[in-house]
Structure formats: structure tokens, C-alpha cells
Amino acid sequence: MTTTAIGGEQVGADAQAAHSTWAPTRRRHREAGRGPAWTIGALAIMAYALFPVAWIASLSLKGEGDIADGKLIPTKPTLDNYRTLFDSGEFVRPLINSIGISLITTVLAVVIASFAAYAIARLDFPGKSLLLTGALAIAMFPPVSIIGPLFNIWRSTGLYDTWPGLILPFLTFALPLAIWTLAAFFREIPFDLEQAAQVDGATPFQAFRKVILPLALPGVFTSAIIVFIFCWNDFLFSISLTSTDEARTVPAATAFFTASSNFINPTGQIAAAAIIVTVPIIIMVLVFQRRIVAGLTAGAVKG
């Protein structure tokens, strides 16, 4: 993550350099400032962030015998944990649930939020600040405090242990996030572009679809990632509002793992599951990170 972030920053700097003649000098200054202290700091943060991941990866590759040997490099690396995971049937269905529920929530949240955020960024309507404050309040609301009532309502309405039963609360918490992120991006897009499109004969919707949306893509991807990770990582709703593999997602399912014998902890399999659920996130960030290019709007207006 840390290295990719540095890459992204340089892309931004390049775009700037193309723009103003003195930008390259400024960039050189900044790089000159990155002395040994900067390198050591970066390495320290990387080690701090990545060590637990490395440890989990190592655990997932260890056999039952040496799981507690305390070594970072497994002495006899094995893929047994992964094999057991997929053979047991405790994992595949939750994985499908996780992917499905997260993707559906992400798509819904981004579509709804982009319309809402566009209106918020462009229009002045009564109750606008109330809406934004309300959205923020929901995002800040402690989810655990609604779990009890939700459990009862879901059981009586038949939403308990279903996909929509998880998608709904996820949307409730993801939408404010997405709206705030997207509104910030929409505000960055010069209003003139939209007016130019209207003068060029576009309807407001055409202006939105052909001009504003393509320019807001980095924002759309950013909020998509945020929403997806939020859903993917959720444990609370999944453990409370599901009872079977019907809708239970991976984080909750992991808690129910059983080992080959009742007297052994399924540590290796939990570690393997953790590694597997991390992979989609990494892939997603890597894929979308290339889209989140700074300065996409460069050249629109003289700035």
C-alpha cells in the first residue's frame, strides 16, 4: 500500500509538471527533502503495517504441528490449510455471500450517491445542509446500538438471514460515506463545463452523463472502494443478522470454523481465510488505483 501511494503521488506531480513550467523545480526540491530520515520513516511504517500480514501469511502456511513454533518463516510450508478450507464447505458459500453482497451494495450505493452528490454539489435547495448533516450523523452513528431492534424487525419481516437483510443496513451506512466523498469530487469540477455542454445543446442529464460523470470517475472509484471495503470488512451485522450460510459473510463465518478435532484451534484455517479475504481488496485497490489519477481535469479551464 505504502509503495503504491508513492507512485500515485508522482503521477500527480508529473501532471502538474506538464502544466506549469516551474513545477519541475518544485518537485526536485521536494525530493531533495526526502533524505535518509524519510526513507527510515517509510520503512518503519511499512514494517509496522505489514508485519501482522506477514505473520498471518506465515501461519496460514504452517502445519498443525508447528503452528505455535513462533517462527516467521515456516519450516515445512504446506497448503493444507487452504485445501481444508475449500473442502470443508464452511468457507465457499460465505465467500460467495461476501462477494455478492458487497458488490451489490457497492453498485447501489455509488449509483444512488452520485445522483445525490451531484444535486448537493450543484443545486441550492432548502434543507441541503440538514441533509448533509443528517448523512454525516448516520455515518457517525454507532451501528451496535441499532442491532437489537434491527434483529427483531428483520425476524418479523423475513429479512433475517437473507442477502437484502445485510444489503439494507450496509447501504444505510455506506451511502453517507459515498455521498460525502462524491460531493467533494463533483464540487471540484468547474461549473462552466456543464454550462458549456448545455450551450452546446445537451440536456442536463446528457451534460451529467457525458461531461460530469467521466470527470468524476476517480471520485466514483474512490467511493466504490470505500464502500466495498466497508461491506467486506463488516462483522457486526453479519454475525447478528444471519444464522446460516444462507447470507453469512466470511468475517462472521470464520468465527464458526471448526477444526478436525474439538480440541484443536483452527488457527491455520482462520489464517488462510484471512489471507483469502484480503486478496480481493488488494486486487481492487491495485486495479482502481490506476484510475484514480490526479489532475484528470487538467486542461479544462485555464487555472
Binding site: 462552466d192 448545455q198 452546446d200 487538467a298 486542461g299 479544462a300
Partner: protein, 406 residues
Amino acid sequence: MAAITMRGVTKRYPDGTEAVKAVDLDIADGEFVILVGPSGCGKSTLLRMIVGLEDISDGEMRIGDELVNDRAPKDRDLAMVFQNYALYPHLSVRENIAFPLRIAKVPDAEITKRVEEAAKVLELTENLDRKPANLSGGQRQRVAMGRAIVRDPKAFLFDEPLSNLDAKLRVQMRTEIARIQRKYGTTTVYVTHDQTEAMTLGDRVAVLRKGVVQQVDSPRNLYNDPANLFVAGFIGSPSMNLLPGVLRGSTLELPFGSVELPAARVPQGGGAERQVIAGIRPEHFEDASIVGDDDRGHGSTFRSRVEVIEWMGSELYAYLPYSVGGGSVGAKLDELAADLDLEQTSGDDSQIVARFDAASRVSEGGDAEVWVDVRRVHLFDPDTGETLTPRETAGSRDHAPGAVQD
């Protein structure tokens, strides 16, 4: 192509302020009209009301014969070039220019043909596949114009299109705009705060101040016959010298002495003594030592100290200090100066800017005999600011030295 007619067009904001006040303006088919004025005079607002980006609070706006007050911008068939170009950054130059045609669902072959034609006119052919970010300021400006000309709209609207370019490019693009407008013969409304652009480009120029049209006329008439103090001070660079004066019959008393006005310059119903503001352009002064005998009779001479000299090569500007009594006339002039963003020295001491021929040998700090062409003195009412000078009819006047005529 179409004429644009405005009747009592007004822009009123919810808080009651009026940005544009009852503008009546007729723009003929194919005419190039400039809206000019200092910042905040409502010229851009008026343009945006024509194109439909601002609502019209009152009055009628017609394009051709159609009332367009309530029409969306897309249904008015006008093309606009924005001050900051407003190019679509995610589209190539080709797609930027093609955008209005794509929206109008013009067939692909036709689009290609028209985009390439426009690119040829604007010398953009080489850059068609580049993105706006990789273009220079002048090229971006051309792309914005390409987007306008490709559709053959009823009118072109320009909102300070050159203000973001450097001085050299500005002159070049100014010629370019004039050339393109002439080539297509499309009705054009052009907003600028730069009077050079206004004077060189427009068939007619409308001068605005605080949302009110002051005068609509050809550049030459604006210059020779300003309708009021504001137009007099705004048009011309360096601007007209405005001096407090007292008129008695045909004798005008100015801070530097009395001059006798020719009959054609005396306000009608003159006679009684009255306060006036006299306006004299810098070029209607001359170093008396180089004024020919023929002209000498048409003016008065006075002695003045020369404070500063700016030698421009082909001419020189002399700054002649004088003292005013202050009073109500002085206050009026100060107000006007603030309006025009001029650096008028407030207080009792002021200066006249005089343009002398480069042959003049006046020296800084020394005294000079200065000649003033009385045929070119404008008189304004100090209370209303309206001109008191009878309107000059073209051709009735002799050629004066230094007068801008062609």
C-alpha cells in the same frame, strides 16, 4: 444567423439588486457588437442572459423573431466561448469540437467533415488527437472557437475570450476572431473590459455602467461624441482629461486659463454662467512651438510646467500639473475616477496628460508653451454627467492634428 433584440431586459437578484437594468439593444443579423464596461457593470450577466444561463427577470429577449425568455440554453441555438474556455478535459480536441454535433446526432461522416473543416480554419489539424491539457493557451482558445463555429449557430457569444492570454497572443487572436467572424458573417456579441478589443473588433460598441447602457455607437462615434462623462472617461487611452470649468457665453474658464470656444462647440441655450466639466483628449494638446500657423488659430495656448515626460518613440506624453478648487465638481470627478478604476490624484492637485509629437523638445521640469485645440473640447453637465456639446456630424469638421481619424 439571426438578429438579437432586447427590450427592457432586466436582471434582478432575490435580494433586490439589479445587475442589468432595462437594457434595450438591437443587434442586427451578422453584426459584431461589443459589450464593454468596467468589471461589475453587468456585461457578462447580459451575455449569459442572451445565451440562457441566467434567467431574465423582466423584459423581452428575442433571437430572430422568437421570444426566448423561457427557453433552455440548448434550445436557443447559440454558441458561446467561455472566458476559461471550458473545454472537456477527458475528450480529444476532435471530440471537443464534435461534441455539439454528437449531441445533435449528426451522422458520423458529416461530423468528420465539419470537424476537419473547422480544424483547417483554426489551424488545429495537427492537434486533433491531443487532449486539451497538452495544448497551449492559444490552441485551447482555438478549440473553444472550433466548438462554436462547427455548428453554424444563430450567433456567437464571447465572454472575455482573450483575457487569459498573454499580450502578444491576445493581439494575434483578436485578429483571428475578426477574420473568423467576417468569414462566417455570424451575428456576434462579444464581452470585454478591454477597450482596445472593443474599438478594434466591433461594428458597434455598447458601453455599460452599473447595469445601464450608456451609449451604443460605432467605435468612432463613441470616441468623437461621447454621450456622457463615463463614456468619455472610459473610451480612449490614455483617457480624456476631465477638468472643472466655468462657461460664460462662449468663453470657457479652465484651471490653466480661458479659451474661446467655436460656435459649434457651445452648448445650446448657453449664455448664462454655469459650472461645467471640460473633457480634452491628450492628443488635442500640442507643444505650441511645433503647431503650424494654420492650426494655431483654432486653439489657445497657455504656459505650463512639465512634470514628467514619457517618451514613446512615435509620440510623447507630458504630464502637466494644475490645481483645482475642489468643490462639487471635484467630487463628481473623484466618483467617476473610482468608477473607472483610474488613479486620479485626489485632493486639489491634479494633472493633465498631453500627447505631443515626438519632434517636441519640451524638457522634464521645465516650462512649455502648450496649445489646445478648442474645436475638440467636450463639455459635460457636472450634475448629470450628460454631454452639453452639440453632437458632431461626420465630415463637418476639419482634420485636427493628432485626432484619431482614418
